[in-house]
């Protein structure tokens, strides 16, 4: 390949110009909204007393085994975080002279990263906008774990038939308890309540308006990461409770914009294939002609 310094540096300059000018395609994918029948939860740290009745209720409703692995707590079911036996957890923040409990479970995002990631549709938003996992489809690739900004999906690492473990809004409770979260049923202080998403959002805003001195003036989950169906009110800053990300862009937005920009209608790959074929046919003819000429001469 005839290559010299000039071509080299020209190529570099061209790429630099392309990068400076290039931006993400303007027609980014539309922001999603919560489905009309969306249900969710509202958790209020000012009401939570850390009794963990919700943790127990979740375990019972989901038939999860006790987690006795915590150091020094071998006779207690005492998980310290979400894991392969725990779909719901209460954690404690202590610092700067303040304390707060925080309930962590799946956020049931309006535009979930995990749903965008799962190639075989094992994770989907189903009834009420609840994000569920389907054991008859999952191949255990764990891409969902890589992409979830809340690190929610957990994996049964020590099982030869491993499941993804995460809150599914009690989708498997029998009878009329289906999709009625056990954690919300048992809370003695109504620190976590469930109901239609839009009503919960309105209730959260009402509480902020009525008692502005009690809360950080923000509903976490209203806008963050495209919005989540589990909403939080807190008396300490949300980052302290472990909510790292505050940007509004849903996780799948950039990747899907880039991906669809390239693959829309499969036009680009088909066109490239046709081009490659055409170039090779032309080359074959040229080589045959050159070969014939050589023979003649």
């Amino acid at each position: 390949m005839a290559l010299d310094r000039r071509t080299f540096f020209r190529g570099a300059a061209a790429a630099g110009a392309a990068a400076a000018v290039g931006t993400v395609p303007a027609d980014a994918r539309e922001r999603r909204e919560a489905p009309a029948d969306a249900r969710g939860m509202l958790y209020d740290t000012t009401r939570c007393i850390g009794c963990k009745a919700c943790v127990v209720a979740c375990k019972q409703a989901n038939s999860l085994p006790a987690d006795t692995r915590t150091e020094g707590m071998a006779t207690w079911d005492a998980p310290t975080a979400l894991n392969d036996r725990t779909k719901n957890i209460i954690q404690l923040y202590k610092g700067e002279g303040r304390r707060s409990y925080v309930k962590r479970q799946c956020m049931h995002c309006i535009d979930p990263a995990c749903v965008g990631a799962c190639m075989i549709g094992a994770l989907r938003k189903r009834e009420y906008g609840v994000v569920t996992w389907d054991k008859s489809r999952c191949i255990g690739c764990r891409y969902c774990q890589m992409v979830c900004p809340f690190n929610v999906p957990k994996f049964e690492w020590n099982d030869a038939n491993p499941y993804i473990i995460k809150c599914e809004f009690c989708k498997d409770r029998p009878g009329d308890k289906k999709f009625v979260p056990a954690c919300c049923e048992v809370c003695p202080r109504q620190a976590v309540i469930e109901g239609p998403y839009r009503e919960l959002l309105a209730e959260a805003k009402r509480r902020l308006a009525e008692h502005p001195d009690r809360y950080v003036p923000h509903v976490y989950g209203e806008k963050e990461l495209g919005g989540t169906q589990v909403l939080y009110l807190s008396h300490v800053p949300f980052e302290k409770l472990g909510f790292e990300y505050s940007h509004e862009e849903p996780v799948p937005e950039l990747q899907q914009t880039v991906q669809h920009g390239i693959y829309r209608g499969f036009v680009a790959p088909a066109a490239l294939y046709a081009l490659l074929g055409a170039v090779m046919i032309r080359n074959r003819r040229r080589n045959a002609a050159a070969g014939a000429e050589e023979e003649e001469s």
Binding site: F8, A20, R137, I139, N151, W157, I262, L276
Partner: protein, 400 residues
């Protein structure tokens, strides 16, 4: 002179072959053990770091090392540089082995491999349960198709050999006699697929990590990730070809083709210039320049990627270096290392789950990777010695 491809011949069970076999067998045993006990006991993976050595290295880096076939196919069939003809079969072989074993690594890594067959079968029995938004689906389908394409592209080497052995294996010979003309007729469209498919999935491997969003370090997180992965793959493809050609010359005592390799290297150098320009301008335009000197370990990783690829490109600028096989070889090694590091970093080092967690592969995890690489080398040696893959100056009795 254009010698035909020929089996290298010679003894198969040499000492290196025996040592590699030991590692391959050990790897196989550990894989069986992992299937029984689960990923937890066998690996250092955790909920914070669900992807580790097997994905970041065996799959993502392994497929890039298998980009030799892609690179030479472009040179030979698209850019019509006939002088590289001798490189195509060994390059396709390396790619076929690399991609096939990357597929094996995926089968070992996924936690529920019994459902993997759903992917090529449209999600059967829930037809259409594909998620077309998922970059991982694109990678999976594309890699599966590409593995098939690579072995079909290589099949003439098998058919030629089996035809030549007509009397000893009459059924294989008959099959080859019928199959070879069909494959040759379709070869143009197969090769076109062999250029289209890696273009798609190598860029999708970049898009894959875009979805991790805020968990990916800003120096790696850019909308240009798919293009950067593609260019990086091209550079690695040329690097693999240079190394493979140089090593085969050495091992099988053939003449090194320095002028051909020198010009190949030049194509890699151009791609490197594009890669670096794209990365740095994007970092500058996004206001991330400050991160370039942040006192973190990841900063070192970034500069390692950059320097390992910049130095060979600069080396090439000097004409004397372009015909020195040692310089070419070392430069190619650095390019490969840079590309491997780029992928490894994107998938592991630059990934921050945001909790206090760490990951390091366990000994069994590492030994499985070593075993897979050993198996790849074993297969390469066997195929190159018994089938017409390599061509060039005839070998004396070779020992390798």
């Amino acid at each position: 002179m254009s010698a035909r491809a020929e089996p290298v011949g010679g003894r198969l069970m040499t000492l290196p072959f025996r040592i590699l076999s030991m590692f391959a067998i050990l790897g196989a045993v550990l894989i069986a053990w992992r299937m029984v006990v689960g990923l937890g006991p066998a690996t250092g993976l955790s909920d914070s770091y669900p992807w580790g050595l097997w994905i970041s290295f065996d799959v993502v880096t392994g497929t890039a090392l298998g980009c030799g076939g892609y690179a030479v196919a472009i040179l030979l069939y698209i850019l019509n540089r006939g002088r590289y003809h001798a490189l195509i079969r060994p390059a396709i072989l390396t790619s076929a082995l690399g991609y096939s074993l990357a597929a094996v690594a995926i089968l070992i890594d996924v936690g529920r491999p019994w459902f993997i067959w759903r992917i090529p079968l449209g999600g059967f029995p829930d037809m259409g349960s594909y998620n077309w938004n998922s970059a991982l689906l694109e990678v999976a389908l594309c890699v599966m198709a590409y593995v098939a394409v690579l072995w079909i592209e290589l099949s003439p080497a098998f058919f030629e050999k089996w035809q030549a052995e007509g009397r000893r294996k009459p059924r294989l010979a008959a099959l080859s006699r019928r199959a070879l003309p069909i494959v040759k007729k379709a070869m143009l469209w197969i090769v076109a697929l062999g250029v289209l498919l890696p273009t798609m999935h190598q860029s999708s491997l970049g898009a894959l990590m875009l979805l991790t969003g805020p968990k990916l370090h800003p120096l790696w997180n850019t909308p240009w990730l798919p293009l950067l992965f593609l260019i990086s793959c091209v550079t690695m493809g040329y690097g693999v070809v240079v190394i493979e050609s140089a090593l085969s010359s050495r091992f099988f005592r053939r003449r090194a083709e320095t002028s051909m390799l020198g010009s190949l290297y030049g194509a890699a150098a151009l791609a490197i210039a594009l890669l670096l320009a794209l990365r740095f301008v994007d970092i500058a335009v996004s206001g991330k320049l400050g991160l370039l000197f942040a006192p973190r370990w990841v900063t070192l990783a970034f500069w390692a990627e950059v320097l390992l690829v910049a130095v060979p490109a600069l080396l090439w600028l000097k004409p004397a270096n372009r015909s020195d096989i040692t310089v070419l070889f070392r430069g190619a090694m650095m390019i490969l290392l840079a590309g491997a590091l780029y992928r490894f970093d994107t998938y592991l080092v630059a990934f921050d789950p945001g909790v206090h967690a760490s990951y390091f592969p366990t000994v069994p995890e590492i030994l499985v990777t070593v075993g897979i690489i050993a198996f790849e080398l074993l297969a390469y040696l066997w195929l190159v010695k018994r089938f017409p893959i390599l061509s060039g100056a005839p070998a004396r009795t070779a020992e390798a």
